[in-house]
C-alpha cells in the first residue's frame, strides 16, 4: 500500500529537517489546477529541491504525465453510472426503512389533496416535513405513480408496498440520480489538464459512493438527486458568470430540503463577497448584482412558499419543518461531538463514584436503554439546543472569515465542507445520514493535493462505517460491508496515486493517525457485526452502536481538525 511507503518516507531522517521553503515560482496559483502537464517538466534546479523535500517523493510515483496527455478518461462517468444502475436495480427487493413509507405517504398526500392541505394532513405519522419544492417534486412523481399503481397514492393505504410501488419508487431514485451524474460530468468538464483526471476519479467515487447506495438505494431517500443539485450549484460557482445561477440553484435546493440551510452561511459569504461586493474593495457594492440575486431568490422562495403564505400557513409549515421537540441525539448515534460527549458520560457513570461526582439517578434509566432518544446526561451538564446552535454557528463563522478575505472557488468549497462539518459535529438532533453533507462537497476538492487527501481519508472511512447501523438486517450485511470496503480500497488507492504533492509541508501525525485509524476499522466492523452477537447475544446491543459511533466520531473530528488546518494554511 502506498501510504505505507508514504509513512516510511515520512519517517526518513530528512523529515525532521527544517522545512524547505519553496521558491516562489514553484508555488502554483490558486485557481490553476496544480498538476498541469507543463508542471510535469520540472526544471533541473527544482529537481534538486524535489529530492530533498519529503513531500515531493511521491510525485514520481503517479504516472499522470503519460495519461494526462490523453483526452478521454476511462471508465467514463456514463459507463460507471450504467453499471451502478444495474446493480441498484438488483437491490430493489432489499431492506427498506420507514423512509420508504414516508415517501409513499407524501406521494399520496400530494396526489390526493390540494396544496393547502398538504401540511395539515396527518393520517399517517409520517407527515410532510420537507419544504414545498420537494412536495411539488413528489406531486410530479405521483402523476406517474397513479398510472403504475393507483393504490399507491391513497392516503389511507398505510404501509402499502406492492411490488409495483417498490419498483416504481426505487426506480425514481435511480432516475433522479441522473442529475448527480450530469452535475459531476460538468464538474469534470470544468477541470483542465491533469486535474481533470483527478476530478474524473473523484466524480466516479461520488457516483459509486457507498453512502448513496446505503441511504438512497437500500434505506430509501432521494439524496442522489438533492446532492446533484448541490454539486451543480457548486460547479456553476466556478465561473464568474455562474455565480448568479449557482446562488439561485442553491435557493431552490433550500426549498427542496432545508437541511442544506447548514451550508447556507458559506453561500451567503461567498456570494456576498464575490458577487455582490466589488472584487477590488469590500466597501464598494455591485448594486445591480445585489438586485439580481435578491430578486431571484425572492422569486424562488415566493414560488415555493407563496401559495402557502397566501393561505396563511407559514407558521404550520415552519412547525413541520423545524420540530424542535426532538432530542439532542437521534435514535442512532450520529458520530459527532455529542456522541463522544455521551460516551464520556457513560464512562463517567462508572468512574464518578470514585471521583465523588454527583450522578443524576433519573438519567441512569436511559443508560439501560442504550439508545439515546431523549438524552439525559448522568454526570455531565445537559446540552440545550441553543448551545448547539451557538457552537455550530461559531465553528461555521471561523472558516467564513477566510472565505470573505479570499473568495476563491477552492476556499468556497472548502468552507461549504467546513459548514457541513460544524453542523454535523455540533448540530441538534443530527442523523448520521447528514455525513453526506460533508463528504459530498469534500469529494470535489479531496484530490487537490495530498494534504487535502490525508484529511479526507479518515472521513471517508468513518463516514461510511457510521452508516452501517442504518442497515441492521442480516441479508444486507454482506452488501454494505463488501461494497464499502471495495469502495474504500479502490478509491483510497486511486486517490493516493492521483493526488499531487502539496506545496506546503504535510503534518506527519495526520498520516499516522489515519493509518492506525483505518486499520482499527476492520476489527471494529468484525466485532460489531459478528463477535458481539456471538459473545453477548441479544444483550448490550447498544455496545456495537456506541463503539461504531464513537469510533466514527473520532474519525470525523480528526478529519475536521485536519481539514481546518489545511484550510487555514493553504
Amino acid at each position: 500500500m502506498s501510504h505505507v511507503i508514504l509513512v516510511l518516507a515520512a519517517a526518513r531522517p530528512d523529515a525532521t529537517r527544517p522545512r524547505v521553503q519553496w521558491p516562489k515560482r514553484m508555488q502554483l496559483p490558486e485557481n490553476v489546477c496544480p498538476t498541469t502537464p507543463e508542471a510535469a517538466t520540472w526544471d533541473p534546479s527544482s529537481l534538486n529541491c524535489l529530492q530533498h523535500h519529503p513531500n515531493r517523493i511521491n510525485i514520481c510515483r503517479s504516472e499522470w504525465p503519460r495519461d494526462a496527455i490523453m483526452g478521454e478518461q476511462y471508465p467514463s462517468v456514463t459507463q460507471c453510472a450504467l453499471l451502478a444502475a444495474g446493480f441498484k436495480v438488483l437491490l430493489f427487493p432489499a431492506y427498506k426503512s420507514t423512509d420508504f413509507e414516508v415517501h409513499r405517504n407524501w406521494l399520496a398526500i400530494t396526489n390526493s389533496l390540494p396544496p393547502w392541505e398538504w401540511y395539515y394532513e396527518k393520517t399517517s405519522e409520517w407527515t410532510l416535513d420537507y419544504p414545498p419544492f420537494f412536495a411539488y417534486f413528489e406531486w410530479v412523481i405521483s402523476q406517474v405513480a397513479k398510472l403504475v399503481d393507483p393504490s399507491m397514492v391513497k392516503i389511507y393505504n398505510l404501509n402499502y408496498d406492492s411490488w409495483q410501488t417498490v419498483y416504481f419508487q426505487r426506480f425514481t431514485v435511480i432516475l433522479t440520480e441522473l442529475l448527480l451524474v450530469f452535475a459531476l460530468q460538468l464538474f469534470i468538464d470544468s477541470c483542465h489538464g491533469a486535474a481533470k483526471r483527478a476530478a474524473h476519479t473523484a466524480a466516479i467515487s461520488v457516483i459509486l459512493s457507498p453512502g448513496l447506495l446505503i441511504i438512497d438505494h437500500i434505506h430509501f431517500q432521494y439524496n442522489g438527486f438533492l446532492y446533484g443539485v448541490l454539486i451543480l450549484s457548486l460547479v456553476l460557482a466556478r465561473e464568474k458568470s455562474g455565480f448568479l445561477p449557482s446562488g439561485l440553484l442553491f435557493a431552490g435546493l433550500l426549498c427542496l430540503k432545508h437541511i442544506y440551510l447548514y451550508l447556507a452561511p458559506a453561500y451567503f459569504v461567498f456570494l456576498l463577497r464575490a458577487y455582490c461586493l466589488s472584487s477590488k474593495s469590500v466597501f464598494r457594492t455591485q448594486w445591480l448584482n445585489c438586485v439580481k440575486l435578491g430578486a431571484g431568490i425572492a422569486a424562488i422562495f415566493g414560488v415555493a412558499f407563496g401559495p402557502f403564505a397566501a393561505f396563511g400557513q407559514i407558521p404550520q409549515l415552519l412547525a413541520r419543518l423545524f420540530p424542535f421537540s426532538r432530542g439532542l441525539c437521534h435514535a442512532y448515534w450520529a458520530p459527532n461531538i455529542w456522541a463522544m460527549y455521551s460516551f464520556v458520560d457513560r464512562v463517567l457513570i462508572f468512574v464518578s463514584p470514585r471521583l465523588g461526582l454527583p450522578v443524576k439517578s433519573e438519567a441512569l434509566q436511559s443508560v439501560t436503554r442504550g439508545l439515546v432518544g431523549d438524552t439525559a446526561f448522568a454526570v455531565l451538564p445537559d446540552i440545550t439546543p441553543r448551545m448547539c446552535f451557538i457552537l455550530t454557528l461559531l465553528f461555521q463563522l471561523i472558516p467564513l472569515i477566510k472565505l470573505f478575505q479570499r473568495p476563491t472557488w477552492d476556499l468556497f468549497v472548502g468552507s461549504v465542507t467546513l459548514c457541513g462539518y460544524a453542523s454535523f459535529l455540533f448540530g441538534w438532533h443530527v442523523h448520521e445520514k447528514a455525513i453526506l453533507l460533508v463528504i459530498m462537497p469534500f469529494s470535489l476538492i479531496a484530490l487537490k493535493d495530498r494534504r487535502y487527501l490525508s484529511a479526507f481519508r479518515p472521513l471517508a472511512v468513518s463516514g461510511h462505517v457510521s452508516l452501517f447501523p442504518l442497515l441492521f438486517t442480516p441479508a444486507e450485511f454482506p452488501i454494505k460491508t463488501v461494497y464499502t470496503i471495495f469502495w474504500l480500497v479502490l478509491f483510497l488507492m486511486a486517490f493516493d496515486r492521483l493526488a499531487p504533492a502539496s506545496n506546503r509541508p504535510r503534518f506527519f501525525l495526520m498520516d499516522r493517525f489515519s493509518m492506525v485509524y483505518i486499520a482499527v476499522s476492520i476489527p471494529l466492523i468484525a466485532y460489531c457485526s459478528l463477535i458481539h452477537q456471538m459473545v453477548f447475544g441479544e444483550t448490550y446491543e447498544f455496545l456495537p452502536l456506541m463503539f461504531t459511533s464513537s469510533y466514527s466520531a473520532i474519525g470525523v473530528v480528526g478529519s475536521w481538525i485536519g481539514f481546518m488546518v489545511v484550510y487555514f494554511t493553504s
Partner: protein, 606 residues
C-alpha cells in the same frame, strides 16, 4: 499500487520476457478500450499488480452474487403465503416447494438421521438424489446452521420452513461454497491458462471478472437456488490441475466433482481422453497411467468411505436403513443382484446402500426428456411425437447420437493432448451431451457454458470473434432458461444480470462493437453478423411476443416451444464453433478467417 517499486524493494520473481506480465506492444498501443469491461480496467493497465486487482475483482463480483434474497419483497407480494417459498423454484409442482426446500431438507436429513438412512428416508418428500459429496456438504451446512438456530433443521417440523433468516443462511452457504471452491478454481485456472497462451495479466484479470459475472451461473445458483458452482468449481480445479501437469490431482478433483453432482459426467469423456492421451502421447508412460487409475480409485473409495463405514457401524448398532419396512424389497435396479446375493451376509447392507444411491442418483426410469429443454429430442418432439416410440429404442438412439457428437472432439483431444485444447474439447463434449443425451434439464446448459466462457482467458479470448461467440452462447443459454426463471418471477434479475454482462463485454443487444473489426474478411464478418443478428433478433422479438401476446388456447406452450426451437439451433452452432476452434487450435485445419494477429505480426516484423 505504486507504478514504480520503491527503491529498497526488489520484485520477488523476475519474469521471463513475454510471459505476459506486461502488456504486449500491440495491446499497449491501443488507444481506447474496445468494450466497457476494458474501460473499467483501463486505469489498471500496466502498473497495477494482479494482487491488488484480484481482491477488487472479487469484491465487485461478490455483491452481484449476493442476490439479497430476492425473495423478501418480490415473493410475498405475488403469491399467497403457501407458495412463497416456491418462488425459488415452483418447477416441481405437486409438492409445493422447489430446490430450496430440497437442499434444506437434505441438511435436515443429514444432520439428524444415521448415515445409512440418508438415501432411503421418505423419498416422496425431496429424497436425497445427489451423490455423497452433496450429502456431506449438506451435513456440514446443516451442522453450522443448527448451531445458529436448531429449528431451521429440526427433523420433520422444519419441513417447508419459510424463515427469513434461514433464507439468508441458505443464500450465504451458496455464496461461501462458491467463494471457497469455484472462485479460487477460476482464478487459478485463468492465471494458468492465460500464461499458457501468453495473455497479458491485464486481460486475464478482465477475463476473471467476466467469468465470475457469467449471468447463467449467478441466475441458477444465487437467484434461483442450487449449488452448481461447487461442482463446476471442482471441474475447473481439475482442468487447472491438468494445465499444471498434476494429473493425479486432476483425477481427484474430477472424482470430487462427480461426487458432488452426477452432471459432471458431461465432461467425463474429455477428462478420460486427455488423461489417457497424455499417458500415451508423445510416448507411453505406464507408470503415469497406473498412478492416475490408482488416484481415481482411491478418491472414489474415500468418497464412499463414510457411507460404507457408516452403514456397517449402523448395522452393528442395530439401526436399519429403512425402518418403515419389515422385509427389504428387491433392488430397484440390478434386480438380478438381489437374487444372487446372500441377504444375511455382512456386505449385503453396503451393496444395498450403494445400489440405492446409484438408483437415486441416476433415475433411469424417467423419460427421454423431462420438461421443455432446448435439446434435440425435445425440439424434435414438436415435429415427431417421440412418445410413440419404445423407450428402449429412444434410449439407444440417444446414446448413439451422443456418442457420435462427442467422440470426434475427444479423439482430437486423445491424439493431441495439448493443454490449450482442454477448454475447447470440454466445451464441445458438453455441448454434445447437452444436445443429444438423455434426461437433460434446462439448467444443464451451465455445463457447456462454463468451459466455453473460460475461453475468454485464452489467446485472443477477448478478441471480437471469441467474444462474440462466447457471448452469444451465454446470452442464448440465459434466454433458454427464461421460462424457468419466469415461473418463479425472476425476470428482473434475469434482465439486469444478462444485460449487465452483455454491456460489459460489448455484446448485443447493448452494442454491435463485437462484430465489426478490422482485418477480418468482410464476408465472414457479415456472415457472423447476420447469423448472430438473426438469433438476437429472435430473442428480443420472442421476449416482446411472450410478454404481450397470449398464446392461442390450443397451444399454451407456444412460446416455450419457440424458445426451445431457437435455442437448439443456436446451441448446435455453438457446438460447431467450439469443434471448429478445437480443430483449428489442434492444427488439423487452418483458420479460414485471416486473424488480426497475423497482420500484427507482419506489422511488428516490419
Amino acid at each position: 499500487m505504486s507504478g514504480r517499486p520503491s527503491p529498497g524493494h526488489k520484485p520477488r520473481r523476475r519474469n521471463k520476457a513475454g510471459d505476459g506480465h506486461h502488456l504486449s506492444n500491440s495491446e499497449a498501443l491501443v488507444k481506447a478500450p474496445a468494450f466497457p469491461l476494458a474501460s473499467f480496467f483501463w486505469p489498471a493497465r500496466g502498473s497495477v499488480s494482479q494482487w491488488e486487482l484480484l481482491p477488487l475483482i472479487l469484491m465487485v463480483a461478490a455483491p452481484f452474487h449476493q442476490p439479497r434474497d430476492l425473495g423478501t419483497c418480490i415473493e410475498t407480494d405475488h403469491e399467497t403465503d403457501q407458495q412463497t417459498v416456491s418462488l425459488w423454484l415452483g418447477y416441481h409442482k405437486p409438492p409445493p416447494y422447489g430446490d430450496y426446500e430440497a437442499q434444506r431438507h437434505w441438511m435436515e436429513i443429514a444432520t439428524h438421521l444415521p448415515i445409512s438412512q440418508w438415501y432411503f428416508h421418505d423419498l416422496q418428500w425431496w429424497g436425497l438424489d445427489y451423490p455423497p459429496l452433496t450429502a456431506y456438504h449438506s451435513w456440514l451446512c446443516g451442522k453450522i446452521g443448527s448451531f445458529i438456530n436448531p429449528e431451521w433443521f429440526a427433523l420433520y417440523t422444519s419441513r417447508g420452513s419459510d424463515d427469513a433468516d434461514l433464507k439468508v443462511f441458505m443464500r450465504a452457504t451458496v455464496l461461501v461454497t462458491e467463494f471457497l471452491i469455484y472462485v479460487p478454481a477460476v482464478v487459478v485456472f485463468t492465471r494458468r491458462y492465460s500464461k499458457l497462451n501468453g495473455v497479458a495479466n491485464w486481460s486475464a484479470s478482465m477475463a476473471i471478472l467476466a467469468i465470475l459475472m457469467q449471468p447463467a451461473t449467478i441466475l441458477i445458483d444465487h437467484v434461483h437456488f442450487q449449488y452448481n458452482t461447487a461442482m463446476l468449481g471442482l471441474v475447473v480445479a481439475s482442468m487447472s490441475s491438468m494445465l499444471a501437469g498434476r494429473f493425479l490431482w486432476a483425477s481427484v478433483f474430477f472424482v470430487a466433482a462427480l461426487g458432488f453432482k452426477q452432471m459432471a459426467l458431461y465432461y467425463a469423456l474429455s477428462v478420460f481422453s486427455f488423461l489417457l492421451g497424455s499417458c500415451i502421447f508423445p510416448r507411453i508412460n505406464v507408470l503415469k497411467l497406473f498412478g492416475i487409475a490408482a488416484a481415481t480409485i482411491v478418491s472414489f473409495g474415500i468418497l464412499l468411505l463414510p457411507i460404507v463405514q457408516g452403514t456397517l457401524s449402523d448395522v452393528k448398532n442395530g439401526i436399519v436403513a429403512r425402518p418403515d419396512l419389515e422385509e427389504p424389497p428387491p433392488f430397484p435396479i440390478f434386480a438380478w443382484l438381489s437374487d444372487s446375493l446372500d441377504r444375511d451376509a455382512a456386505y449385503y447392507p453396503v451393496v444395498e446402500q450403494l445400489v440405492q444411491m446409484v438408483h437415486r442418483v441416476f433415475p433411469f426410469a424417467r423419460g427421454l426428456f423431462e420438461d421443455k429443454v432446448a435439446n434435440v429430442w425435445c425440439s424434435l418432439n414438436v415435429v415427431v411425437k417421440l412418445h410413440n416410440y419404445p423407450t428402449e429404442l429412444l434410449q439407444k438412439v440417444s446414446l448413439l447420437a451422443t456418442l457420435a457428437s462427442i467422440l470426434p472432439p475427444n479423439l482430437v483431444l486423445f491424439f493431441k493432448p495439448q493443454k490449450n485444447l482442454i477448454p475447447f474439447a470440454f466445451a464441445t463434449t458438453a455441448w454434445g451431451f447437452f444436445l443429444f443425451s438423455y434426461q437433460v434439464h434446462e439448467k444443464s446448459v451451465l455445463l457447456p457454458l462454463l468451459p466455453m466462457t473460460l475461453l475468454l482467458a485464452g489467446s485472443h479470448g477477448l478478441s471480437r470473434e471469441a467474444r462474440s461467440w462466447i457471448g452469444f452462447a451465454n446470452m442464448l443459454g440465459c434466454w433458454t432458461m427464461f421460462p424457468l426463471l419466469k415461473r418463479v418471477d425472476l425476470q428482473i434479475p434475469y434482465a439486469v444480470l444478462t444485460l449487465t454482462w452483455a454491456y460489459l463485454l460489448g455484446l448485443p443487444p447493448t452494442s454491435l462493437s463485437a462484430y465489426f473489426q478490422e482485418g477480418q474478411g468482410v464476408m465472414v464478418q457479415w456472415a457472423t453478423v447476420m447469423l448472430h443478428g438473426a438469433f438476437y433478433l429472435a430473442m428480443v422479438s420472442w421476449h416482446i411476443a411472450e410478454h404481450f401476446v397470449r398464446p392461442p388456447p390450443g397451444k399454451p406452450d407456444l412460446w416455450v416451444v419457440a424458445n426451445v426451437g431457437v435455442g437448439v439451433v443456436g446451441f448446435g452452432l455453438c457446438y460447431l464453433w467450439c469443434f471448429y476452434r478445437l480443430l483449428v487450435e489442434a492444427g488439423f485445419i487452418s483458420q479460414m478467417i485471416p486473424t488480426v494477429s497475423k497482420k500484427d505480426k507482419a506489422k511488428q516484423n516490419r
